[in-house]
């Protein structure tokens, strides 16, 4: 019987091809835009995850405390964490390693080429903390840091911009007129979430940077420090230990504020992820407005159809069609329309999102959600927009319907 109902419904709607097509178009556009928006949201979230993975998520970031004057919170205050603090942090339980960074931006010169670059003064542990790997050559050592050796590791952008096809190992770069020997190159990391090139980097011992590029009256202080925790669920306890250790090392009395701030990468990841999630939810919500409009389109068409086919309905009833049969036929018509519409919309949405991904050079996932969305739209929209017209058809009195002109 279901087959017969579907067949009658199919023949009925295919009798009005243009009208059916236009009605379907509303659902096609609605589903396609929802699928597209979900894909966009997922792509953003994937990018976020990728970026954080490249930094490592079980990181604790230590920065100077925010300045507070007269209740107004300002930017970062004076550097307060020393290189020795960081060495002490390495000894804490559940800490894998710790590192620090002082940075500056200079023009790197090699031969006749030059390029603006971000310079990180740090210790050898920064490679572990920042998930960096050595492509060629060797990293600098703890000894080099102590001695303030002019050894540098360079990112792929610097390799490409200054050395081209030459092997950079052993070559001498000039930064602010001072010579630095390239002892290694770093594996490429690509752009970060904000579109910044992470490979435009030079790493050197922090002591070297302090001595040769950026002097300071507090030369043993780091701009920022990183602690890598062994496991992600130890983050909280480690951050408490860090706070205790730093307070005692900085001789802070009870009741005074910390002169440093602690940020857990896991929390930051959560925050950014939730922003991404809300964003994709919002986009899909806006897109689904077109679905509502499309659904109203189906209802409208079905109501017109019931009125137009009043005599047909009367005839069918007179010739033995039970009321339920009539109702299911009209319901089937709207479900078929919404089913086809959402199927085509799903294909269209996935295709468009892949094309957009290719154009923007981003990996766009083909998500199971697009199938879930379109299938549920097919059923929900079909039933919701079809039930009223179908009931109207069902309730027609055959005598009245046969008399209808």
């Amino acid at each position: 019987m279901i087959y017969q109902i579907l067949r009658e419904a199919w023949i009925s709607i295919s009798a009005y091809k243009l009208r059916t097509f236009l009605t379907m178009l509303g659902i096609v556009i609605g589903v396609a835009s929802v699928v597209l928006m979900v894909a966009a949201g997922q792509t953003v979230q994937n990018e976020i995850t990728k970026t954080f993975d490249s930094m490592g998520t079980n990181l604790i970031i230590l920065a100077p405390a925010e300045t507070v004057s007269g209740g107004v919170r300002g930017g970062r205050g004076r550097p307060s964490i020393t290189f020795k603090d960081v060495e002490a942090l390495k000894q804490l339980k559940d800490v894998e390693t710790a590192s620090y960074v002082v940075n500056t931006a200079v023009q790197a010169v090699y031969g006749s080429s030059n390029y603006g670059v971000s310079v990180y003064g740090t210790n050898p542990d920064y490679l572990t903390v920042g998930n960096w790997e050595i492509e060629t050559g060797v990293p600098f050592t703890e000894k080099d840091v102590k001695a303030g050796k002019p050894y540098i590791l360079i990112g792929q952008t610097i390799v490409d911009e200054l050395f081209g096809l030459q092997n950079p190992i052993g070559k001498v770069l000039r930064l602010k007129g001072q010579p630095f020997t390239v002892i290694g190159t770093l594996k490429s990391k690509g752009d970060n979430l904000m579109g910044q090139d992470q490979d435009n980097i030079i790493m050197m011992p922090a002591t070297t940077l302090r001595q040769r590029l950026r002097g300071s009256n507090r030369p043993n202080y780091a701009d920022i420090a990183f602690v890598k925790v062994t496991e992600e669920d130890k983050m909280e306890s480690v951050s408490k230990r860090i706070e205790y250790l730093l307070r005692s090392r900085h001789y802070l009395k009870e009741g005074t504020d910390n002169d440093f701030s602690i940020h857990l990468m896991t929390e930051m990841v959560e925050k950014v992820r939730s922003v991404g999630f809300i964003l994709s939810l919002l986009l899909s919500a806006i897109a689904s407005i077109s679905l509502v409009v499309g659904s109203i389109g189906i209802m409208n068409m079905m109501l017109v159809s019931v009125t137009e086919r009043t005599r047909e309905i009367g005839t069918r009833k007179a010739l033995g069609a039970p009321n339920r049969w009539i109702m299911f036929q009209f319901l089937a018509e709207s479900i078929i329309i919404s089913f086809m519409g959402s199927f085509v919309g799903m294909i269209l949405g996935v295709a468009l999102s892949q094309i957009a991904g290719m154009v923007l050079n981003k990996q766009v996932p083909v998500s199971i959600w697009s199938v879930v969305i379109s299938a549920s739209v097919a059923i929900v929209v079909g039933v919701v927009s079809g039930i009223m017209p179908a009931r109207k058809a069902m309730k027609l009195d055959p005598i009245e319907a046969l008399r209808y002109q």
């Binding site: 019987m1 017969q4 009658e8 023949i11 009798a15 005599r311 047909e312 009367g314 005839t315 069918r316 009833k317 007179a318 010739l319 033995g320 069609a321 039970p322 009321n323 339920r324 049969w325 055959p398 005598i399 046969l402």
Partner: protein
């Protein structure tokens, strides 16, 4: 009259319409008659006489307010909509004044339509429809839409549709109302032919020369049976 089976029996059939505000109108008043298998009966009457209401009640499209109606021995006066639909589909054939064909469907689809509701499969529906088209003289037209054939032929399609479920009785409501006199004669001859093969036909008309094809006439006037007997002008 030969002692054959009673197809329709109505006893004390009444129909009252209740209007808003409490007013009521008796449209059918204590109607009694029997129709036997193989009869060709014309129901006549002026407009407003109640013949349409009688027709709708006999056709199981409507229920009487009171009284009894036995169709092929089965009491149908108090059945539900669902049951009446089933009875119509199995025991009754309808022929309408304006044919009521689905113009966008093929003639076979139109003729076989009542069988869908009997749960009969597609191939059997088609073969039975083609068989019925042969009976009404429309062999070879099955796969065309009704819009391509004349009004007289369209009414033949409707008659084929009425015959397809092998009904106990066929109700023809002004079947020639939309046709010219030549075509009307052809349609009435077809009915006569079918009647000779033993099919019971109830014809509702207000045209005398159409009614003359029926042997028996029931005349309704003001909701009552005014005359029930041999049609005077019956052309044997």
């Amino acid at each position: 009259m030969s002692r054959t089976q009673v197809v329709i029996e109505v006893r004390n059939l009444c129909k009252t319409y209740y209007m808003e505000g409490g007013a009521s109108q008796d449209v059918l008043k204590h109607i009694n008659f029997k129709i036997y298998e193989g009869e060709f009966v014309a129901i006549m009457g002026h407009s407003g006489s109640g013949k349409s209401t009688l027709m709708n009640t006999l056709g199981c499209l409507d229920r009487p307010t009171s009284g009894e109606y036995l169709l092929a021995g089965e009491a149908v006066a108090k059945r539900s909509d669902q049951e009446l639909a089933l009875i119509r589909g199995q025991k009754i054939g309808f022929v309408f004044q304006n044919f009521n064909l689905m113009m966008k469907r093929t003639i076979v689809d139109n003729v076989s339509m009542p069988l869908i509701y009997q749960g009969i499969g597609e191939s059997e529906r088609r073969s039975r429809a083609l068989e019925m088209l042969k009976i009404v003289g429309l062999e070879g037209y099955g796969d065309r839409p009704p819009s391509q054939i004349s009004g007289g032929m369209q009414q033949r399609v409707a008659i084929a549709r009425a015959l397809i479920n092998h009904p106990k009785i066929i109700f023809a409501d002004e079947p020639t109302g939309n046709l010219d006199s030549t075509t009307s004669d052809e349609i009435m001859k077809l009915f006569t032919e079918l009647n000779k093969q033993g099919i019971t036909i109830v014809l509702v008309t207000h045209e005398d020369d159409v009614a003359d094809y029926a042997k028996r006439m029931i005349k309704i006037s003001d909701g009552r049976v005014e005359y029930d007997g041999l049609r005077k002008g019956y052309r044997a």
